[in-house]
């Protein structure tokens, strides 16, 4: 199970990474493994306002539908349109090619409150149930 250093994490298994003051968001290796084959990703339009801990989209595997939760508040400025035709990128490359949205954050303090890689690893081992 990959949990790269330098990223922040949520208990709902999203990751967030700062790139030039913006926050890139995706789901973790654990999340994609739990979901199985991802066959559909529904993402918001650029310009959509999102709130921390609110949902920003949906990811569907063959069997299940799961909500995607926003790590930080702000405005969506870019979405990964490659996922429309290649949702399997979420399985193959959850931290790179499988990224989902870029947010212009409205409150930079929120990012720092997210779980560190060590916190998230601890959470997976002790609380996430597998």
């Amino acid at each position: 199970m990959e949990v790269p250093e330098g990223l922040k994490y949520t208990k709902e298994h999203e990751w967030a990474r700062i790139e030039r003051d913006r926050v890139v968001v995706g789901i973790t290796d654990f999340a994609q493994e739990e979901l199985g084959d991802v066959v559909f990703v529904e993402l918001p339009e650029p310009g959509t306002a999102v709130a921390a801990e609110g949902t920003f989209g949906v990811v569907e595997s063959v069997k299940a539908v799961s909500d995607l939760y926003c790590p930080v508040s702000g405005t969506v400025i870019e979405v990964n349109t490659d996922l429309e035709d290649h949702p399997e990128l979420v399985n193959d490359s959850p931290y790179e090619d499988g990224w989902m949205i870029v947010i212009e954050p409205s409150n930079s303090a929120e990012f720092n409150e997210l779980l560190s890689a060590a916190d998230y690893r601890y959470y997976l081992e002790n609380e996430a149930g597998s």
């Binding site: 199985g36 084959d37 066959v39 559909f40 569907e60 063959v62 069997k63 539908v65």
Partner: protein
């Protein structure tokens, strides 16, 4: 050993764990939902072969001088059509014509019939059968003693033939034979739930592991994979087979779900017949149809079927078809919307996705034709 979940386990449970299967509760059982991934397993069954543990299914034998009369009275299809070692798809209904279960019946002898029933319905079906048996017929629940393995896919015959001297090329669709497979006594039936050619092998539980291992080894040249309930569900939906408890339950008649072809209203008395004759005369209000989505999205069970702002029905099964790479599903809709080519929308979260009724099955069935 009693598992914490209170769920039952098949004789192959440890084998599934060794194969790192993902285990889920299903119908009171701990069952493998997938091993290497649902899509890979699904496509392997379509292209080569897959092996399924379906030991959670129940088996009931009805025997005695009145066995045929008993089965004839309990079930919808006409068992007088069966010769020894022939099988048929059938169903149990209550007095109101509501479906208790869909089942497979095999005639083992003139006075011995085998009923294969759904895992989640074993207790209910056995109680119902015992309650309605005439004198001269007895029911024996074999469910705890028997394991059932399904070998499915275009390579199934080639693989199984390596392990048995039974003449598989001459074994017809919905026909059975007893045979030794890898040295184990089994009942081989040529049928399945995937739309591909294949076999189900019923065996005493104690031999299930040896039989499983032998078939996995024999299938190596054809790259056989173990297949879980996840792909079993997508395969059966593509082939447009019904799943009890999902596509139908006791609130549905067989006429609504497309099982009219096995409902032999003219065969003589059976439980539910009067109600079904009335239902047929009145005309069914709703039908289960197969649809494809014509825009992005996936329909799922319980999503609403819409005509504009009006809800007109409900999705029972829906998935992204691994073979077609298209969202497919089944839904109950009013008769007026049930013709091939009819259009409506499926409410997928906040938006309406256009859908069209298509001919069944979604993927052509390639079962054995004699």
């Amino acid at each position: 050993m009693t598992p914490d979940t209170g769920s039952k386990r098949t004789p192959l449970y440890d084998v599934h764990c060794q194969l790192h299967a993902r285990i889920i509760p299903f119908g009171g059982w701990d069952m493998p939902v997938s091993y290497s991934g649902i899509i890979e397993e699904h496509l392997r069954v379509r292209s080569h072969a897959g092996l399924f543990d379906v030991s959670h299914m129940g088996e009931v034998e009805i025997h005695g001088p009145q066995a045929e009369a008993a089965v004839q009275y309990l079930t919808l299809n006409d068992v007088r059509d069966l010769q020894d070692f022939q099988l048929q798809y059938s169903a149990l209904c209550n007095e109101s014509g509501g479906l208790i279960d869909d089942i497979t019946i095999g005639r083992l002898a003139a006075d011995r019939f085998l009923l294969i029933i759904n895992a989640g319905n074993i207790d209910k079906d056995v109680a119902w059968i015992e309650q309605h048996l005439p004198t001269g017929a007895e029911a024996t629940n074999l469910s705890d003693d028997k394991a059932l393995l399904a070998l499915q896919g275009p390579a199934a015959e080639t693989i199984l033939q390596r392990l048995t001297t039974a003449a598989l090329p001459t074994l017809g669709y919905y026909c059975a034979t007893t045979a030794r497979v890898a040295g184990v006594e089994v009942l081989i039936s040529r049928l399945g739930y995937t739309g591909e050619d294949g076999f189900e092998l019923m065996v005493d539980g104690q031999h299930a592991v040896a039989l499983w291992q032998a078939m996995m080894e024999a299938g190596q040249p054809e790259t056989i994979l173990p297949v879980g309930l996840g792909a079993r569900d997508t395969l059966r939906l593509e082939a447009r087979y019904l799943l009890y408890g999902v596509d139908m339950d006791e609130s549905n008649t067989p006429l609504e779900v497309g099982l009219n072809w096995l409902t032999k209203l003219d065969k003589g008395p059976f439980i539910g017949r009067d109600a079904l004759i009335r239902a047929k005369a009145e005309g069914v209000r709703q039908r289960l149809v197969g649809f494809v989505l014509k825009d992005r999205g996936i329909a799922r069970a319980h999503y609403r079927v819409m005509d504009g702002e009006t809800p007109i029905g409900m999705v029972t099964s829906g998935t992204m078809s691994p073979s077609l790479e298209q969202a497919i599903g089944t839904a109950f809709v009013p008769r007026a919307y049930s013709k091939i080519g009819s259009e409506f929308a499926i409410e997928v979260r906040h938006h309406a996705v256009p859908a069209e009724v298509v001919r069944a099955p979604f993927v052509p069935r390639r079962v054995k034709r004699s």
